[in-house]
Symmetry: C2
Subunit: 222 residues, 2 copies
DNA sequence: GACTGAAAAATTATCTATAATTTGAAAAGG
DNA sequence: CCTTTTCAAATTATAGATAATTTTTCAGTC
């Protein structure tokens, strides 16, 4: 039986909570009450507190000592910030990954692009998009860089799900195809340049506010 | 009385341990035993475990479930990785900070450069160097970006202290002065380009190994 | 003498209990 | 009626206790 011993309760809790925050099930500024969560997971609050420290480090929650932990809020400024950080770091990663890319990997990445184009909802699209980026970047073999990029993708996904609560429309991702074409021709610098533009593309979507009116929401769509 | 209520025991412990790891008082792979540390700080091990999660996120420690926490080890590859990440992120930060830089800030940064040149040991140099970088980058106002850069500076400092255990020699930092000159002339792109080269400069130093022989160590010197 | 394996010691992960602080609601006053 | 004060309930932060696991020790064997 696959004993899940590489997994502490704390890490499991932090993964589940991160997922809820990203999907918007836990709204910005919502309080995370440690013994409520402990009760839900059937544990004491000690591992819950450890999970909180992890979420804090990922930028998904903020801790106000003695006043509790809240889901981090965000604004357009932070969306832009994450987009620019992704551009800088993914560009770097791609330059290092390019020499190690095989046509098998590029084929997989093309499949991820097709999956994204065919995605019926925003969740499926995000999964395929993230898969594409990971496939072409992972061969850089830079663990710290990839971990930083993963955290930025989590933030990106949160912005995206917050903006596109509903009404996802299919579209063909020309950027991904241009990146793959450049990589197949060995033009790493060109591919990196397209990627950097690509991840800075910020889309707009109308969102219904709790009060019933609509406002515009912004998210990274690459 | 300055009540230190914004400070949990966990955050204090994580700061002290981070400092020890950075200064090399805790060697790579050294075990961090939770109740030994708890006893030292006169606390229970609960806040110690929370501090561990923070150190993990900063890349200063690694956790092997049920087997304890160890000081993260590192190699030349990671030194290069951190240098490249710093180049990418500090370049980005400087482009955004440039429009907000005042001559007062640049004067302070010049003082930091002089302090670095005059530093008698590697610890004083590192402090002045970090101060220089923070001064010219902080006005970008991008909290997440600055936090990421801070963590990279912590890693850089660790590499540096590990390589230059002794034998620091004073030198004049021409890069810092060139960056300031470019910024004073409003040439932000040029300043960013120099900065990006600057932080990728990896120095070499002979280090005595525990066995008595010498090997070369590498560190970021910018 | 090196290797194996069982028992002991140390250590981690978690739970239960307690003290301290904050939040929220009800009562008192302007 | 709104503001302030007071007090109870909820919540956080930490301590102390316990179970489970790993590491170390040390004797026995090849």
């Amino acid at each position: 039986m696959a004993k899940e011993r590489d997994d502490t309760i704390a890490s499991r809790i932090s993964r589940v909570l991160a997922d809820r925050i990203i999907r918007g099930e836990l709204a910005p500024d919502a309080r995370l009450r440690q013994d409520h969560i402990a009760e839900e997971f059937g544990t004491s609050h000690v591992p819950v507190r450890e999970a909180f420290r992890r979420l804090e480090a990922q930028g998904l929650a903020i801790n106000l000592p003695r006043r509790g932990v809240r889901v981090a809020s965000f604004d357009l400024k932070e969306v832009r910030e994450v987009a620019e950080m992704r551009a800088a770091l993914e560009g770097l990663a791609l330059k290092h990954a390019a020499p190690h890319l095989t046509s098998a990997i590029l084929d997989e990445a093309e499949q991820a692009t097709r999956d994204g184009d065919a995605a019926a909802d925003v969740y499926a699209w995000e999964e395929a998009n993230r898969r594409f980026h990971r496939l072409i970047l992972a061969p850089c073999g830079m663990a710290r860089l990839l971990a930083a990029i993963d955290d930025l993708h989590a933030a990106s996904a949160r912005f995206l799900f917050s903006a596109w609560q509903s009404g996802w429309e299919k579209r063909t991702d020309h950027d991904h195809r241009a990146i793959l074409a450049a990589l197949r021709q060995g033009k790493a610098e060109e591919a990196a340049a397209i990627l950097q533009k690509h991840v800075q593309w910020i889309g707009r979507a109308p969102v219904r506010t709790p009060s019933g009116s609509t406002r515009e929401a912004f998210a990274i769509v690459g």
